[in-house]
């Protein structure tokens, strides 16, 4: 300490002498300087090496000891590259500055490539949407504490939607390594604890070797059905300190085969279905891949069984593209069709279906991996469903066995009988389609624009493309489902999972990014309320050149809540004209076209005249087909 103090004093004296000399030179009047012989100038001569050594001790190395050429985060990037993670969605934070720099420079900003997000919730929602199209996780990197807190709702959505995501959260465990002040606010003893209730697995590796094992393990766990997000906590010191040589081994990734149903239970399920007179299949998240759609069509065709296309007795259907909408068996049967056997495929809530069946003496079968991931605190598991046959298994993985068993049990006579059922179901399907078309005609020329017209105008312009609808249909009257021809797995990816708002736009951006390399036309019918949570993702879409058409379903508020408050007021016999308070986004109305334009996006609107909508969509689509995002603000009816 004494030496360092002496050195500081000496440097101060040196600088003081130099400064005094400079001041003298500047202050001397030019005339006087010309007329008077020059005095001896104060010297600020550079000290000799010997003088410096005497003054400050040994000379520092020409290379700073602070330079770390092989930091631990370089190895982390090596690990991430083995997992072939294409993108890393992030909002920058100091706790992962080491990893950030390694990705950009050491990793060349590929696999993963950084996506610049304006909110951590958007980063995870982007990963959520991406995974539903890509069929594999995106990496999201979050700042310690505050970044994870911002992202937590989006993580919960992905968990409830059974979608994989690999999330790295940074931390500084060693208190002596933390900078004073804000760095402490971004550190925790147990970082992942705040989201542990709604991730499938988490770990905080203590070494780089540990990081390698846990990263590969995390990816594998996330991708094994039931899929869900996983969290790895990356210590900032582990990122920034030099890595040891040789580098630790990176384990090989071998994905686990999904759990399929037990053969005896599959046989029992097949027996019930083959014998049923009015069976029904209800599919929620059944098809994980295109093969899932093909297998479900095969089963429905074998059994001549309708596959429900609307929410039925509290059970959500079609949170994925499970079954073609124009297949003659798409529907819930003819009017008055009461199922005697109901097969639920990855249905979150079978309770009302089971209750209704029990009251009629009917049977229910559930094939779902849900029971393999249930936790205690958050109540996403719904009411207890006392079904008759329950298989804790992945539906898509079980379908081939079930199809084989049904085929084995079906006699020729039974097949002929079932053909008659198919004809009746096909007729009911056609009549339901006609009713939907007739219903779409009502309000056709109204302003605000009807959602049915919005869907029809859009469909007319995309039906010959390889399109992909990336937004939930629950808030738009399911009009695309009712009017469009869905027949490919990537054409619909469902909704939020846990109903958390702020999911729509970022999830669409992530899914559109996954669609980009396939050249697909990505479509997002975007609620205005949802858009306002974190609109900065508009900029992310522009910055990363992600082609996506967004039509804002601008109904001027949180419409579901308008109805809820109105219902509450009516039931209490008061204030039926005050439901708009706290639920609407008017006075002033929000100009979404200007908002998008401010982020650099092509945008039009507000469009309130129905006749102007088609041309506006055409202009926006032209931009999307060129590879950029575009937005049209549509002033629309509530639903």
């Amino acid at each position: 300490m004494a030496t360092r103090h002496a050195a500081r004093v000496s440097r101060r004296r040196f600088l003081k002498g130099a400064a005094a000399g400079s001041a003298t030179l500047v202050a001397a009047p030019p005339v006087l300087a010309e007329q008077t012989p020059a005095p001896a100038r104060p010297s600020a001569a550079i000290p000799s090496e010997q003088q410096l050594q005497a003054d400050v001790g040994a000379l520092p190395s020409p290379i700073s000891a602070r330079i770390v050429e092989h930091p631990g985060s370089d190895f982390m990037v090596d690990v991430l590259k083995t997992l072939n993670l294409e993108f890393a969605a992030q909002n920058p934070g100091s706790s992962f500055q080491g990893l950030h720099e390694s990705i950009v420079n050491y990793g060349g900003n590929t696999s993963p490539e950084l996506l610049t997000c304006c909110h951590e919730e958007s980063a995870v929602a982007i990963a959520h949407g991406y995974a539903k199209i890509a069929g594999r996780p995106m990496l999201a990197i979050l700042h310690g504490n505050v970044g994870l807190q911002h992202a937590s709702m989006a993580i919960y959505n992905a968990f409830a939607d059974r979608v994989p995501a690999v999330i790295i959260v940074a931390n500084t465990r060693d208190a002596t390594a933390r900078q004073p002040g804000v760095n402490w606010y971004h550190s925790a003893v147990d970082m992942a604890s705040m989201v542990r209730d709604y991730v499938k697995w988490d770990d905080e590796p203590a070494s780089l070797g540990h990081f390698a094992e846990s990263a590969v393990r995390a990816y594998k766990i996330a991708m094994t059905p039931p899929m869900a997000p996983v969290v790895l906590v990356a210590d900032s010191q582990l990122q920034e300190l030099p890595m040891a040589s040789p580098a630790p081994r990176i384990p090989k990734l071998t994905l686990a085969a999904p759990p399929a149903g037990e053969s005896g239970a599959v046989r029992e399920a097949a027996k019930l279905l083959v014998a049923a007179e009015t069976p029904l299949i209800v599919a929620q998240r059944a098809a994980r891949t295109p093969d899932g759609v093909a297998r479900l069509v095969e089963l429905a065709d074998l059994l001549q069984t309708p596959v429900a296309s609307v929410a039925i007795r509290g059970a959500t259907v079609s949170d994925r593209m499970n079954f073609p909408t124009r297949h003659p068996l798409c529907g819930s049967g003819w009017p008055g069709y009461e199922p005697d056997v109901t097969l639920g495929l990855e249905v979150q809530d079978m309770s009302a279906l089971a209750r209704s069946a029990r009251d009629r003496g009917a049977k229910t079968i559930s094939i779902s991996a849900e029971e393999l991931v249930q936790k205690s605190n958050y109540q996403d598991f719904q009411r207890m469903a006392d079904v008759d046959v329950a298989l804790a298994a992945d539906a898509e993985a079980t379908l081939p066995m079930l199809i084989d068993e049904v085929r084995r049990q079906l006699t020729a006579d039974r097949r002929r009988t079932l053909e008659d059922r198919r004809r009746k179901l096909a007729d009911a399907h056609e009549r339901a389609r006609d009713r939907d078309r007739e219903a779409a005609a009502y309000g056709w020329d109204a302003s605000p624009i009807s959602v049915a017209r919005l869907a029809a105008e859009l469909w007319a312009q995309i039906k010959n493309d390889d399109w992909s609808l990336l937004s939930w249909q629950g808030f738009i009257g399911r009009w695309p489902y009712r009017l469009w021809n869905f027949d490919k797995h990537h054409q619909y990816i469902g909704g939020q999972g846990a109903g958390g708002m702020g999911y729509g736009l970022p999830a669409a951006v992530g899914a559109a990014l996954a669609n980009k390399k396939h050249g697909r036309l990505s479509i997002n019918i975007q609620g205005d309320g949802d858009l306002n949570y974190a609109p900065g993702v508009l900029w992310t879409a522009v910055h990363h050149r992600i082609p996506l058409l967004t039509l804002v379903h601008n109904n001027g508020g949180y419409h579901q809540e308008v109805m809820f408050v109105q219902q509450m007021a009516s039931q209490r016999n008061r204030g039926g004209d005050r439901a708009h308070i706290g639920t609407t986004l008017r006075d002033p109305s929000i100009d979404y076209a200007k908002l998008a334009q401010s982020y650099g996006m092509y945008a039009e609107g507000p469009i309130a005249a129905p006749g102007e909508l088609g041309p506006a969509i055409a202009r926006a689509l032209a931009r999307v087909r060129q590879g950029e995002p575009a937005l049209v603000d549509v002033v629309s009816q509530p639903r």
Partner: protein, 111 residues
């Protein structure tokens, strides 16, 4: 035992609604339709949404009033919230809403 007074009261109310309001006033009805968020479930054009379609209005005023006062699923609107005269106005407004052409006459909806 409570049912009879309720029925009598409802019938009285319906009769009063018809006689007091006459045919109703569509302009006033529109204002009520918007202020009481009828549009929220039935659409600005009465074409439906979360709730059923209202056009073309086939219900008589008494039948309409009966449904609004004591509906099977939608929120109930008592006379304290909406007077009989106001109900008549809303009914008149819905009756005045335009009907729409069939899907077969709309090219985008044609088969």
């Amino acid at each position: 035992m409570l049912a009879l007074p309720l029925i009598v009261s409802t019938l009285f109310s319906l009769v009063a609604a018809q006689s007091a309001s006459g045919t109703g006033d569509a302009a006033r009805g529109k204002d009520i339709y918007l202020r009481y968020s009828c549009y929220a479930c039935h659409g600005y054009a009465g074409h439906g949404g979360a709730g059923p379609r209202l056009v073309p209005m086939r219900l008589s005023l008494p039948a309409f009033a009966s449904v609004v006062r004591n509906p099977p699923t939608m929120p109930p609107y008592s006379a304290k919230l909406l007077s009989d005269a106001q109900l008549s106005d809303v009914w008149r407004y819905i009756r005045a809403l335009p009907e729409w052409p069939p899907a077969s006459r709309i090219p985008l909806l044609a088969k």
